[in-house]
Structure formats: structure tokens, C-alpha cells
């Protein structure tokens, strides 16, 4: 039924316009029929419209033929157009009979068409991830075909099917959505601005290294290694053997080694620090030459350099000074006291110019030190004379603080203070020996034999003469007190002794009972007597009677006499010139004389210490450097640099070589002496 209903109106639509009324009528009839049949069904009444034709039955049965043509009743039968070509009106032959009643554009596209394919591809991209099922392909064609029919039910059913299919299977073909149920909407979110960022880390530190490996290299390395290993094994073996015997000693040694290394390191450091602190002084010592000397001829000056003092020695008086020949920066200081009542302990200190703050060696002694001498060759041997009459020899190489040798009352020590000690040259047996002179009138020779000091009296000083006859007729020998001594440099056996009475005796080692000569030198005790280092006949002496005298030992009277207005503590020749000598006085003045420049006056007298505070007691010239050290009664030693004027060498004539050396010095002195002698001789 539904299909016939659907088919009938279609056919009717095709009919032309002419038969429209008829058809309408028929429609109406049909409709009426349909309606009437419906109405009959519904109500059972027949309703007729008001304007219906009333016809008789016979008229109703009459057949009226109608011819249906496909002509459009509204289309014009004759269309005339003007043709410009022919210039006449023309009748168009064919007139379009098409009458369009209804147009509806569909949105379906054939699946094989390009557009459909494009759409499919587009949807494929979106639905690629979904699983593919080939099944729905056929169903979908049905779906696409179905809407042509237009049945709602079918559509709905197929839509459902389409949905279920889509949900079940991850479709290959894209789901085409209709415009009614589906809307596509898009939006763009805010994209954050893009930024470029880059960085470079620091590369790891790198180094280059190159070497060459070769067979001989490797071989040598291995040989060395094996050798080392063998050495180690041997050492271990020897250690094991030695261990049993000397375990403790080795332990001590190792401990001592550490200390020793530390000590040297610390010592170096101390010296460095001192050098830096006294930097200017060191520079002065080395390089400063007083330029003012050119204008100040003939005088000179003494530039104070370092000052050496030791805390514990501050109460003591410097009683002896001696430079070390081998190490010209090292000097020895003997400390004690000249006061009879204030005798206490003493000290022997060794200072070096490299360290002005602390002594290198310290030897405390039970009794005050009065004199000391350093051996010329074995510069580690120091002979010391004490106030209590002992003599001792210190060995600097020994670690202890005790002297290596010491005289005791059994071994012939002096009974009075020892005023001077002098080393002698080694005797034939290579034994060292030295002489000492003391107030007890004995000049004793000491020899170092193994562990002992062997003494032998060289001479016994006597007052009036070696042998004198007393009132009783018995030979009374009264001893003089020796206060100083000096040995001749060239003639070994000849030596001078100064006494408390002011006499200087010329003695010889070979004659133990007799003097060769006696000089009545001074009124008070002779404090120092020294041979001239160059001229073999000249010596100098000084004493507390304010005078310094220069002698020729063949002449009984002094060649030169100098009044210094104060008690002279010490006098010394300069090692570089035969005519230069220096003296110190208790006033704190140092006087330097140069006989070749000025025979009557000092070319330099300079206060070194303040007069009120301290007195100068000793001085010594450095054998190499142009400095002198001066000791005072406060345990302080001051070093002074001699200005150029004080160390003048004789002027040379042009073209001649610079005269230097021993002979020149001798000649210089000789010249001066001859000047003195000649007038004497002429006077005589």
C-alpha cells in the first residue's frame, strides 16, 4: 500500500499542465476517494464540497477522452525574435517546454568522485590510529545509498548502525558527518612567545703530554727497577742484622735527623729574616763607601753596622774578641769581668755577621773568660783562658757545651787569671798546642794529646831578671805577672810578654830562663802587645797609662808614642796595611792611626758608645772585610765599617803596576822608621 501511494503521485507529477484540472479533479477524486474511503472508515458519511458539479449518472458514465501531451501550457507557442543578421523578425522554432516545479540541491556526493576521495583522505589522517575493519565498507555503501529512498525509518536505522559501527570499529574510512547534527568549530590557544637560549660550559682543563716508548727505554726501566729492588732487599737484610744491636740508636738517630733537618731549615729562615730586617746594614756593609772622605782628607770615619748582644751576656764585660780565619764572618766573644770583686760566670759566644740577633754558639762557663784564641788551621778549636786560672779548649764540632779539654789543678792550671792564650803551629806529631800567660808569672805551653792537656812551663816570668840575688844571697825569684803575649809571625820562637809592671819582655821558646830583651814600656800594666803583621821588627803596645807605643824590637825606646787621654783597653794592627792600627779607650772612643799619612795624630777618633754608659774594652780587625768589631763592658759587640780614607794604599806612579803585598808594606814601614832613625843617628 505505501509503495502504491508513493508511486501514484510521482506519475501524476509528470503529467502536463493541460490536464492539470483533470488531474486535479482526479486527485481530488482520488483524494476524495481516499478521503471518502478514510472518511467512510472514520465517520461513514459522504461529504461533498459546495461547488461540486452535479452530474447525472449517464453523464458520469460518459467517457471523455483527454489527450495528454508533454506541452507546457504556460510556455509561449510562438516566440519571435529580431535577428540582426537577417534584419528581420524570426520565429523561434523550438520553444522550451520544460517547467520546473521544484528544485532541491542535495548534499550527497558519489563515493568514487574526486571530492569524496579528498574528504576520505582528509578524514583518514584524523582516524589513522583507530583499528581498521573492512566489514563496514559494504554497510556504508548501503548507508550512502539509503538516503536516496528517503525513508525516515531506514535512515534512522542506518544512522544507528553507522554510529554503532563507528564506535565498534576504528574505521578506515572517515565518518562523514552531516551538517545538521554536527558542527565543526576550531579555536586557537595562546602560544607563548618563543625564546632562543644557548650556553657554553667551560671545557674541562686539559694538558699536553708527549713521550716516546721504545724497547730500550722499557728495558732500561725494568733493569733499574730490579736493581732498586735488590738494593732494598740488601738494606733490609743489613738493617735486620744491625737492628738487634743498635735498635735504640737507630731510633734516636731518626729522631735526631728530623730535628737536625728542622734545625738547618729554621736556621736558614732565621738568617733570611735577619737579612731582610737588617737589609740596609747588609747593603752598607757591602757597598757603602763614604763619599765625603774625598773632602775630608786625611781623616776617615767609622760607620756603625751591626750590634751584637745577647740577653744573658748583658751583665758581663767583653773580655776577648777573635775573628775566625777560615770563616771571616764568624767571630768569637769572650765574656767575663775585669772587676776583682765581681767575679761570676762567663760565656763564650760565637756570632756571625749573617745573624746579628742571636749567637751561633753559646758556651756558658763557670768562671769568667778572659781571653780566647781560634786556631788558624783547625778553626773549630778554640782555646779559652779563665779567670780562675784554668784553660780550656772547645771543639765547635762537638755537640756538648763542655770544653773538650780542660786543665785542672792536677794538670798544671794557673793559680791566677789567664790573660792571654795563643795557638801555635801544629808540632811534628800533628798535635795542637797553645801557650798561655797568667798573672802567676808562668808562661805555659799546653799540648793536646788525645784526651788530655799536657802542660809544660815555657818560661817563668821574674821581676828583675831571671836570676836575682836577694839580701840573703839566695836567688830569690819573684815572679812578674804577665798580662799579654804575642808570638812573632815569621820567627816562631820569638815572642813578647807584657807584664803588670809595665815591662815588655822579648823571649824565646828555646830559652826558658832568660829574656832576650826587656822594654820598660809603660808605667802601668801593659794591656796589649802585638807584632806588626808585615814588618818583622815592629810591635805595638798599649796600657792604662793613656799611651800607645810603637816599637822596633831592636831599639829600646819607642818609635812612636801616642797619648790618647784615656786608659787604652786594646790596640790592634790592621791586616791590610803595615802602618794602620786602631785603639779603643774607656771613654768609648776608637782611634785609628795611619803612620804613613799622619805620624802624630789619629786620622780618626770616633765615639762609638756613649761615654757615660759603657766602656770599650777590646777590638779586632776582620782579616778580609774592612770592618772592625769593638766590645764594651756591657756584653755588647759593635761592628763598624772603615771608611776608605782609613784603608788607603800607597799611591802608585802612572805606568807602574799597583804595588801590593807584603814587601810593599814592609817597605812602607821601613821608610817611616828610617826617617826616625836617621835623625836619631844624626843626632847621636
Amino acid at each position: 500500500m505505501p509503495t502504491s501511494n508513493a508511486a501514484a503521485p510521482v506519475k501524476k507529477k509528470v503529467l502536463g499542465a493541460k490536464s492539470q484540472k483533470a488531474t486535479n479533479k482526479r486527485k481530488e477524486e482520488d483524494d476524495d476517494n481516499g478521503d471518502s474511503s478514510w472518511e467512510e472508515r472514520v465517520q461513514g458519511k459522504l461529504i461533498k464540497p459546495a461547488d461540486q458539479l452535479e452530474l447525472t449518472d449517464a453523464e458520469l458514465k460518459e467517457e471523455i477522452t483527454r489527450i495528454l501531451t508533454a506541452k507546457n501550457p504556460h510556455a509561449p507557442q510562438n516566440i519571435v525574435r529580431y535577428s540582426f543578421k537577417e534584419g528581420a523578425f524570426k520565429l523561434t522554432s523550438a520553444v522550451d517546454q520544460m517547467a520546473v516545479h521544484f528544485v532541491l540541491d542535495g548534499c550527497l556526493i558519489h563515493q568514487d568522485s574526486d571530492e569524496a576521495r579528498r574528504l576520505a583522505a582528509h578524514k583518514d589522517l584524523a582516524e589513522e590510529s583507530l583499528a581498521v575493519d573492512s566489514g563496514p565498507g559494504e554497510e556504508k555503501t548501503d548507508i550512502l545509498d539509503a538516503p536516496r529512498d528517503g525513508g525516515e525509518e531506514e535512515e534512522a536505522g542506518e544512522d544507528d548502525r553507522a554510529d554503532s559501527v563507528a564506535s565498534k570499529t576504528n574505521n578506515q574510512e572517515p565518518k562523514s558527518t552531516n551538517q545538521f547534527n554536527y558542527i565543526q568549530r576550531a579555536s586557537q590557544t595562546l602560544n607563548n612567545a618563543l625564546r632562543d637560549r644557548s650556553c657554553q660550559t667551560t671545557p674541562p682543563p686539559r694538558r699536553n703530554y708527549s713521550a716516546a716508548a721504545s724497547q730500550w727505554d722499557i728495558y732500561d726501566a725494568y733493569v733499574e727497577e730490579l736493581h732498586k729492588q735488590e738494593m732494598k732487599k740488601e738494606q733490609q737484610k743489613s738493617r735486620k742484622d744491625g737492628d738487634k744491636n743498635q735498635k735504640k740508636l737507630t731510633l734516636k738517630d731518626t729522631a735526631g735527623d728530623d730535628k737536625h733537618e728542622m734545625r738547618t731549615a729554621i736556621k736558614l729562615l732565621e738568617r733570611m729574616v735577619n737579612q731582610n730586617t737588617c737589609h740596609e746594614i747588609a747593603q752598607d756593609f757591602k757597598y757603602f763607601e763614604d763619599a765625603a772622605d774625598e773632602f775630608r782628607e786625611p781623616e776617615g770615619t767609622l760607620l756603625p753596622l751591626w750590634k751584637f748582644s745577647y740577653e744573658k751576656a748583658k751583665l758581663m764585660c767583653v773580655t776577648a774578641l777573635c775573628w775566625n780565619e777560615k770563616y771571616p764572618d764568624l767571630f768569637a766573644v769572650g765574656l767575663g769581668s775585669y772587676e776583682f770583686s765581681k767575679q761570676g760566670r762567663g760565656m763564650v759566644l760565637f756570632y756571625t755577621l749573617k745573624n746579628c740577633t742571636f749567637p751561633e754558639y753559646i758556651f756558658p762557663t763557670p768562671s769568667g773568660v778572659l781571653c780566647l784564641d781560634i786556631h788558624k788551621k783547625h778553626s773549630y778549636l778554640v782555646a779559652v783562658g779563665f779567670y780562675d786560672g784554668c784553660v780550656g779548649v772547645y771543639n765547635l764540632k762537638n755537640k756538648g757545651l763542655e770544653p773538650q779539654y780542660k786543665s785542672t789543678s792536677n794538670t798544671g792550671k794557673h793559680t791566677d787569671p789567664v790573660w792571654q792564650v795563643c795557638w801555635q803551629k801544629d808540632d811534628l806529631d800533628n798535635k795542637q798546642s797553645f801557650y798561655s800567660v797568667s798573672s802567676d808569672g808562668r808562661v805555659v805551653s799546653w799540648t793536646l794529646i788525645q784526651n788530655e792537656l799536657i802542660f809544660s812551663d815555657a818560661i817563668r816570668l821574674s821581676l828583675t831578671g831571671p836570676v836575682s840575688e836577694g839580701p840573703d844571697g839566695l836567688g830569690e825569684v819573684t815572679t812578674a805577672a804577665g798580662t799579654c803575649m804575642d808570638f812573632h809571625r815569621q820567627m816562631d820562637s820569638l815572642f813578647l810578654v807584657g807584664t803588670e809592671e809595665g815591662n815588655i819582655h822579648k823571649c824565646s821558646r828555646s830559652y826558658s830562663s832568660q829574656y832576650l830583651h826587656t822594654f820598660h814600656a809603660h808605667n802601668t800594666a801593659v794591656d796589649a802587645v802585638k807584632w806588626n803583621p808585615f814588618h818583622p821588627q815592629v810591635f805595638i803596645s798599649c796600657s792604662s797609662d793613656w799611651t800607645v807605643k810603637v816599637w822596633d824590637h831592636s831599639v829600646s825606646t819607642p818609635m812612636f808614642t801616642f797619648e790618647l787621654n784615656a786608659s787604652v783597653g786594646d790596640v790592634s794592627w790592621a791586616p791590610y796595611s803595615s802602618t794602620v792600627f786602631a785603639a779603643v779607650t774607656i771613654e768609648g772612643l776608637v782611634h785609628v792611626f795611619d803612620l804613613s799619612i799622619n805620624k802624630y795624630q789619629a786620622i780618626c777618633h770616633q765615639p762609638v758608645v756613649s761615654r757615660n754608659k759603657s766602656k770599650l774594652t777590646h777590638l779586632a780587625f776582620n782579616p778580609i772585610h774592612p770592618i772592625i768589631i769593638v766590645g764594651d763592658n756591657r756584653g755588647c759587640v759593635i761592628s763598624l765599617k772603615l771608611s776608605p780614607n782609613l784603608r788607603k794604599k800607597p799611591k802608585c806612579k802612572k805606568g807602574q803596576e799597583l804595588p801590593e803585598g807584603h814587601e810593599v808594606e814592609v817597605a812602607k814601614m821601613e821608610k817611616i822608621l828610617s826617617l826616625l832613625r836617621d835623625p836619631e843617628q844624626s843626632a847621636h
Binding site: 674541562p204 682543563p205 686539559r206 708527549s210 713521550a211 716516546a212 727505554d217 722499557i218 728495558y219 725494568y222
Partner: protein, 106 residues
């Protein structure tokens, strides 16, 4: 000279058997050094005849343990000049006639 030549290979053979490494130059920290030497010794024992494999083994082991790029050269006679990261170089002799150089560089 001839004697030395004859003795040398014999000694080399001896050395090959009881060997100890002699470090010629290194600036590695001690633990790294001991590790490297251990790797080398293991590699040598494993690949006594093939320097290339031994070197490869050492290099890979060092890479794994200490990271980044290690380079290892094993040979009997060669000269070299390398740029290496500080504290990452070892140059030593081994086995009586072998020289090993290993260094790290990116």
C-alpha cells in the same frame, strides 16, 4: 751487544711471565691509577697476543667507570704527543716490552 740481544728476548720472555708495571708518568689520583693499572693487567692477561683487543677492553672499561672518552694505546715502540684532561693520564711500561698510554679527552 750480541749477548745483550740474546739475553734481552729471554729476559723479555721471563718478564712476560712474572710482570709488574712501571709507571713512567701519571697525574691521576691514586684510586683512579690503581683501577687503571688493574684494568690494564686484566686486559693483558686476557689478550696477550692482540694489542688491539686489549686496548679496546681497557678503553671500554675506563669509559664505563670514569666516563666520557678514553683513549688507549698499547705498543712496543711509538712516540706520542697528546692533549689530555688534567689528572687523567697514565703512561706506563708493562710486561717487559710493552708500553701503555691512556688518557681522557672529549
Amino acid at each position: 751487544m750480541a749477548d745483550d740481544g740474546e739475553e734481552a728476548p729471554e729476559e723479555n720472555r721471563k718478564r712476560r711471565t712474572h710482570t709488574f708495571p712501571i709507571v713512567r708518568h701519571t697525574d691521576m689520583p691514586k684510586p683512579m691509577k690503581t683501577e687503571a693499572i688493574a684494568f690494564c693487567m686484566a686486559a693483558f692477561e686476557k689478550f696477550a697476543n692482540n694489542n688491539e683487543h686489549a686496548a679496546k677492553m681497557v678503553k671500554e672499561a675506563m669509559d664505563k667507570k670514569f666516563g666520557a672518552a678514553w683513549h688507549v694505546v698499547i705498543g712496543e715502540s711509538f712516540g706520542f704527543g697528546v692533549t689530555h684532561e688534567t689528572k687523567n693520564l697514565l703512561y706506563m711500561f708493562f710486561g717487559g716490552n710493552l708500553a701503555v698510554c691512556l688518557w681522557k679527552f672529549c
